[in-house]
Point group: C2
Chain length 198, copies 2
Amino acid sequence: MSGTIDFYFDFSSSYSYIGQHRLRGLAEKYGLRIRWKPIALGAIFKAMNHAPPTGDSVKGKYIWHDVERSAEQCNLPYHWPDPFPFNSITAARIFWCLADEDRQQAVDWALAVFHASYGEGRDCSNSDVLQGLAEKCGFDGQALLAASKEDAIKKKLQQVTAEATERGVFGAPTFFVGDEMYWGADRFEQIERSLSLG
Amino acid sequence: MSGTIDFYFDFSSSYSYIGQHRLRGLAEKYGLRIRWKPIALGAIFKAMNHAPPTGDSVKGKYIWHDVERSAEQCNLPYHWPDPFPFNSITAARIFWCLADEDRQQAVDWALAVFHASYGEGRDCSNSDVLQGLAEKCGFDGQALLAASKEDAIKKKLQQVTAEATERGVFGAPTFFVGDEMYWGADRFEQIERSLSLG
């Protein structure tokens, strides 16, 4: 299955924003299919008893700078969402509502959320912002917000998060080429090499 | 000072082994001067209350695999030292003994320790191994081991470690181009871009 890449991400992961941009470039170059899989990364961190570095720690300060530098290197607009990190659960659940009906619509949603969050620095934990975004995408925003609260959708997000954990995911973005796992927005050199070797 | 790269590393950091290899390639390409700076990374981790992931955690397992994959991608021989991580303090102190006299000899030593540790999987915490390596480099092994125990040398390693902390180093390898800091063996694309932009 070297023609498919599984992409586990969280909307509240800034490296996931950079990762999706670079991944789409790679997918276009190699004619790859991307399986977009938003997860609840916070639940994985909680299970691991892991707290990501905050912006006021030494490591956090470096990482924030590295995120900005990495975006700049991709010529990707970058603004920190306010607040950051933000609660990305509703945005992820709406993805899974849409994916149930139409895969392409779900991908359009993911792109819209990433762009609003990091391209424009908007707060995608906010229901009004999400509803507006959904409508801009041509969806029924109110219906989607309601659907995102249904048990089946909550379970779907839990299920994909459990699947990620099962496969060894401990951070985001994480990419799989077959069973080979790559963590981070900085493994595209390696991924590309594995693709070109077949 | 874009013609100089400061390279903070620990001999017991497997990504430092990969980093030094890639850095030397870059230095050759761009005619850069490398300032080799072994530090006591364990002291920095201790001060941060940080424990690096072990090989039996989920993250540790991935990282061990990523190290091997990264080495393979550089066509760099790779064997895990046994034990790993290992106490690298004496090897680092010997570097600083040599650097006091002759910078090139210190670099020869660094290359010898990296190669013995990760190219051959040898235990460079062991005094006999270090003495043998020193002699293979043409140095007086016994004299170096003795010198490595002197207070001035102990202080020198502490001093460089404090300098690293002061500059924001929290892991290894860490590279500085001027004041711009890059952490990890996977930032050479960015470093190269900063060099080519001047």
